[in-house]
């Protein structure tokens, strides 16, 4: 019997379902929670007095994305994330594009977080500072990426307990920083004054919004956790909603605090010998890579202690996030290879360690190329001049932020369309969680619900994609180039394998869904699914009047 590619992937030895609700939350938190450590400084540098508005806009879009991921991860608890949802909802070629965009994000994730991890450590070890010692910084980031690749090939991953501990410590730490900051140093009048006097140009505001979305990237971890959580349909919505709200609160609170906080001790003077506001100091090139640690050190009373440990805690969280990039890219490439969206080489495992070594090496190699491209202007004055002419002198971390925002916005756009498509075409799959505000109607004889929030979220994320294309010189070229190159490779591969190029291969989604729900332990949902499928088949079959 011919078994579809998707069903084959699911029938392979699966991951153990041992992640608890807290484990599921901390898994997502260690991935998405690290983003504010990178995003805060970048957004303050770009959007200045409108940074909180930039975070608000991106945050509301993120809430829509989070709700979409929660619904889809609870209905289809498999580890492919956005790539799997798009593959299932829109077919092979769109599944490839979404997966390819996610792969871009994962490779950027590896570099950006390794880079930022060293930026945070440089607040304790000044020789690691990017601006003062760019070669040292470059070599250490390179060593981190190579080290993570080796660890992933050997098969060493940080334990779930370690993730839970770091996430727990970080939630407590960030809450304490915000508590002391808001209680003793926050001045609402100063916030309003900053918003009025340092309001950016529309171009810079768009730039800020497109960078703010990087503070909310990493929702793939929700579906990764869904694959390894027992009874995911009931656990994932609970933990995801808490995660989404926690991340939103931290992003809005930090941006408001940065704009409206009176520093506990005087700030250094700027290059012209003038006094500078806190938000300006946090957003400059020296501090934008480690803005949370610098902000924490200026918080009254608690700042002295925070200055000692926040750089280390931030660095650990960022290292975990960088590692999730290595892990995630190799696993998504492995899964895409299994469904014949990528060549079978990406499925090749190491003979001794049984890990997808080829995928790990390829995507860590891409990450190293991105690192070189990002660091080059600081390493060579000649290249700096070329970047200045071509790309308006974007610095390394901003270049990485550009591509990160592009990849995220591109893949999330497809996820919204896939959600709408799956609502219409797979109404039989039970959904324990649905995005709010739905319009019921009949489609192809089935009662379905059209998600209004998905349309709002789609409009929001597409506008962020447009902002990214308008405001980022490098992202505008490199992002679409990545997609076009990938598509060309996909077309050649599918033609060589004599597979449909623009159409999809036949997939037995019913069998796949039964396997998914069975392996998730969601037997009630599986029964419900079988009943729904039977009812739908009965409705579609012509009525016979013969004997039963």
């Amino acid at each position: 019997m011919a078994v579809s590619a998707a069903a084959r992937v699911i029938e392979e030895p699966s991951l153990r379902r041992a992640v608890t609700p807290w484990g599921s939350f901390s898994w997502g938190y260690s991935d998405v929670g690290a983003d504010i450590f990178v995003g805060l400084g970048l957004v303050l540098g770009a959007a200045a007095g409108a940074s909180n508005v930039a975070f608000l806009f991106a945050g509301l879009v993120y809430v829509c994305i989070g709700l979409a991921y929660t619904e889809l991860a609870a209905a289809y608890p498999v580890a492919g994330g956005g790539q799997y949802f798009v593959f299932r909802g829109l077919g092979d070629i769109f599944g490839f594009i979404a997966g390819w965009a996610v792969l871009l994000d994962f490779t950027i994730d590896i570099v950006l977080f390794a880079w930022s991890c060293i930026d945070y450590l440089s607040k304790l070890v000044p020789i690691l500072s990017f601006t003062a010692h760019p070669w040292v910084h470059f070599c250490v980031v390179l060593a981190v990426i190579v080290g993570l690749a080796v660890l992933n090939i050997i098969g060493v991953r940080e334990s779930s307990a370690f993730n839970e501990l770091v996430s727990g410590l970080d939630v407590v730490s960030e809450t304490l920083i915000l508590f002391f900051g808001f209680l003793f140093a926050f001045q609402p009048q100063l916030l309003v004054h900053t918003m009025q006097t340092a309001w950016p140009t529309p171009f810079n505001l768009m730039n800020g919004v497109s960078l703010a979305i990087i503070s909310f990237v990493g929702l793939e971890s929700i579906s990764q956790a869904a694959q390894e959580t027992q009874r995911p349909a009931s656990v994932i919505p609970r933990t995801s909603i808490s995660l989404i709200l926690t991340i939103l609160i931290f992003a809005l609170a930090y941006s408001n605090l940065a704009l409206g906080m009176q520093p506990w001790h005087p700030l250094p003077l700027d290059a012209h010998g003038h006094q500078q506001p806190l938000w300006h100091y946090l957003g400059n090139e020296d501090n934008n890579g480690a803005a949370v640690a610098v902000l924490a050190s200026y918080v009254p009373y608690y700042g002295a202690l925070a200055a000692l440990y926040v750089p280390v805690l931030g660095a650990i969280l960022l290292l975990i996030s960088s590692n999730s990039g290595v892990f995630g890219s190799s696993r998504i490439a492995y899964a895409m290879s299994g469904t014949q969206l990528l060549p079978s080489a990406f499925q090749r495992v190491h003979p001794k360690y049984r890990t997808p070594a080829v995928s790990i090496c390829v995507f860590c190699g891409v990450a190293v190329v991105e690192l070189i491209f990002a660091a080059l202007p600081s390493l060579s004055p000649h290249v700096h001049a070329i970047y200045g002419r071509l790309f308006r002198g974007e610095d390394g971390i901003t270049f990485l932020g550009d591509l990160y925002a592009f990849g995220a916005a591109a893949s999330y756009s497809f996820v919204f369309i896939a959600l709408i498509s799956l609502r219409l075409n797979d109404s039989q799959s039970p959904r324990r969680f649905k995005m709010p505000f739905n319009v019921p109607f009949t489609y192809k004889g089935n009662r379905v619900e059209f998600p209004i929030v998905a349309v709002i979220g789609f409009a929001g994320i597409v506008s962020i994609l447009v902002f990214t294309m308008i405001t980022h010189e490098i992202g505008r070229i490199a992002g679409p180039s990545w997609i076009i190159l990938g598509l060309l490779g996909y077309l050649l591969y599918r033609r060589r394998k004599r597979l449909p190029v623009f159409r999809s291969q036949p997939h037995d989604w019913r069998k796949a869904q039964i396997n998914i729900l069975q392996s998730a332990g969601e037997l009630e949902m599986m029964d419900e699914y079988l009943v729904n499928v039977r009812l739908m088949d009965e409705r579609r079959q012509p009525r016979s009047f013969g004997p039963p």
């Binding site: 609700p21 807290w22 608000l56 609402p188 609970r238 609160i249």
Partner: protein
């Protein structure tokens, strides 16, 4: 860690924490509007407060659902 997370003490601590979130959210909204007034600059603060209230409410709902299951 797992034992702690499953204990009744942890659940009650979370409930108190949730109440604090709701309270703090309301304070953030009231203080923002009180100081800044009903102007657009108050929007980020109001959304922050609303998110805090929502997080607290979600946790209270989880606690109630957990008690019903037990």
């Amino acid at each position: 860690m797992k034992r702690l997370v499953r204990s009744e003490t942890y659940a009650r601590t979370r409930l108190i924490n949730s109440g604090l979130f709701v309270l703090l959210g309301i304070v953030v909204v009231v203080r923002t509007v009180g100081v800044v007034g009903f102007v657009w600059q108050a929007l980020p603060g109001c959304v922050l407060g609303a998110a805090m209230v929502a997080l607290g409410a979600v946790r209270v709902r989880d606690y109630v659902a957990g008690r019903a299951r037990r």
